[in-house]
């Protein structure tokens, strides 16, 4: 690891100032992606700004009938939260499937979405629920936030502060995990909302996306059988040692069916 200067500010304002004052400064949340990256010398920040001591960035609360979760809230806290279980249980289930106990104890919502790993779970939850990302500068709809493989709409000096999730009528997440890392080979988040059915797919492509064919079929009939007749194309899907594009296309349907069945 290259060396760097370390800061642990107590307020968002201080963190923003540190980013502005040091051009090559980077944010540190749970470190479960960034520390391995630093160890491999794939990044060389001059400064690390640790967000963990900023109280206003952490916590879970009900807001406008939905949920607001602070950026530095760890996965384990979301998985164990009674509020999340009551308002959007599918989100607690999703958090429970991330990595392992120790990764969930440190890894955070804000870190996961800012990193936007193509196989990460939270992006499917955000896009599936039609969530809004709140940052130090603005609010961004989830669909506009995730822009590509490991890419987001965030500016260099922008900090995710929280995510707001509206409450769906029904929702569930089904994931086919890589047995070693638990990252999604394919993960499908299905939600029935007042605005229609939303189906978000992670792991299968370079970035989370909505499966419109499945949404149309499920809008007509929200039942696992409705998925049967839909054809999901393998075009542009990921292909690697874990799964071919065709297999991933197949898994999208299987996971969608399981999610609809689980949503009830």
């Amino acid at each position: 690891m290259y060396n760097f200067a370390y800061h642990r500010p107590r307020t968002l304002a201080e963190a923003t100032q540190l980013l502005a004052a040091n051009e090559d400064a980077k944010l540190l949340a749970g470190g479960q992606t960034f520390i391995p990256t630093l160890k491999q010398r794939l990044a060389q920040p001059s400064d690390l700004v640790d967000l963990s001591a900023i109280a206003e960035l952490r916590g879970i609360r009900e807001e406008g009938g939905g949920l607001t979760i602070g950026a530095t809230t760890p996965h384990a806290e979301v998985a164990a939260s009674e509020v999340v279980r009551r308002v959007v249980p599918a989100l607690a289930d999703l958090a429970e499937t991330i990595g392992d106990t120790q990764v969930r104890n440190l890894g955070t919502l804000g870190g996961s979405i800012s990193n936007n790993d193509p196989a990460a779970d939270y992006p499917a939850g955000l896009v599936g629920l039609g969530a809004t990302v709140r940052t130090s500068k603005r609010e961004i709809a989830a669909e506009d936030f995730f822009t590509g493989m490991f890419e987001t709409a965030l500016a260099e000096d922008e900090i995710v502060t929280a995510v707001h999730f509206p409450k769906p009528e029904k929702a569930a997440y089904a994931k086919f995990p890589n047995p070693a890392s638990r990252y999604a080979i394919v993960g499908v988040f299905v939600a029935r909302t007042a605005g229609g059915v939303r189906v978000a797919v992670t792991g299968a492509g370079p970035c989370v996306f909505r499966a419109r064919e499945l949404e149309n079929a499920l809008s007509a009939d929200f039942a696992p059988e409705a998925v049967e007749g839909v054809s999901v194309s393998a075009d542009g899907l990921n292909e690697d040692i874990h799964a071919s594009a065709e297999y991933r296309a197949h898994l999208i349907k299987v996971m969608a069916k399981r999610a609809v069945a689980a949503a009830g």
Binding site: N3, F4, G31, Q32, I35, T101, Q102, N105
Partner: protein, 161 residues
């Protein structure tokens, strides 16, 4: 260099560290607590698990500066008054280790499980150990040891009531 201060196994310690120093390096090289092992150094194997403020974490994936001000417990902090912790005793009695390299991490990880859930099922134990790899045992006796420790700890808790 920044100075970090933390409570390790009940004892307050301070040391100067480069910000890039990992918590496991501080524990092993700075404090000589070599019970915490480094297996993969890539966040996969769980040999390096310690508790920070009551939660199990991979100390190869945390900086020492992040633990400034925290309460840290390592495998060396479990035995009390010359008595092995029930988890240590159970691994000993149930042949829960062969080479022993993964054992400190297995014990520190399962300790958090038993603190949250004193009576886990076998499936819950296996699922909890997702982040702990063992190259020797095939896990069977590790799971057996943890279930035995859970029973022993429930027995002690009942006797104390």
């Amino acid at each position: 260099m920044p100075t970090v201060t933390m409570t390790v196994n009940g004892r307050q310690v301070s040391g100067e560290v480069e910000p890039r120093t990992l918590l496991v390096e501080f524990l092993r090289e700075g404090l000589g607590l070599t019970g915490t092992h480094v297996g993969c150094d890539t966040s996969q194997c769980g040999c390096c698990v310690v508790h920070v403020d009551g939660k199990s974490v991979k100390s190869c994936t945390m900086l020492a500066v992040q633990a400034d001000g925290a309460e840290v417990t390592t495998i060396e902090g479990l035995a009390a008054d010359g008595q092995l912790h029930p988890l240590q005793q159970a691994f000993h009695e149930n042949h829960g280790l062969q080479c022993g390299f993964c054992t400190p991490g297995m014990i520190m990880s399962s300790l958090e499980l038993l603190q949250r859930n004193p009576d886990p099922t076998e499936a819950e134990v296996r699922e909890w150990l997702e982040g702990n790899l063992c190259r020797c045992t095939g896990y069977h006796n590790i799971v057996k040891s943890i279930l035995a420790a859970a029973a022993a700890m429930r027995g002690t808790a009942q006797a104390a009531e």
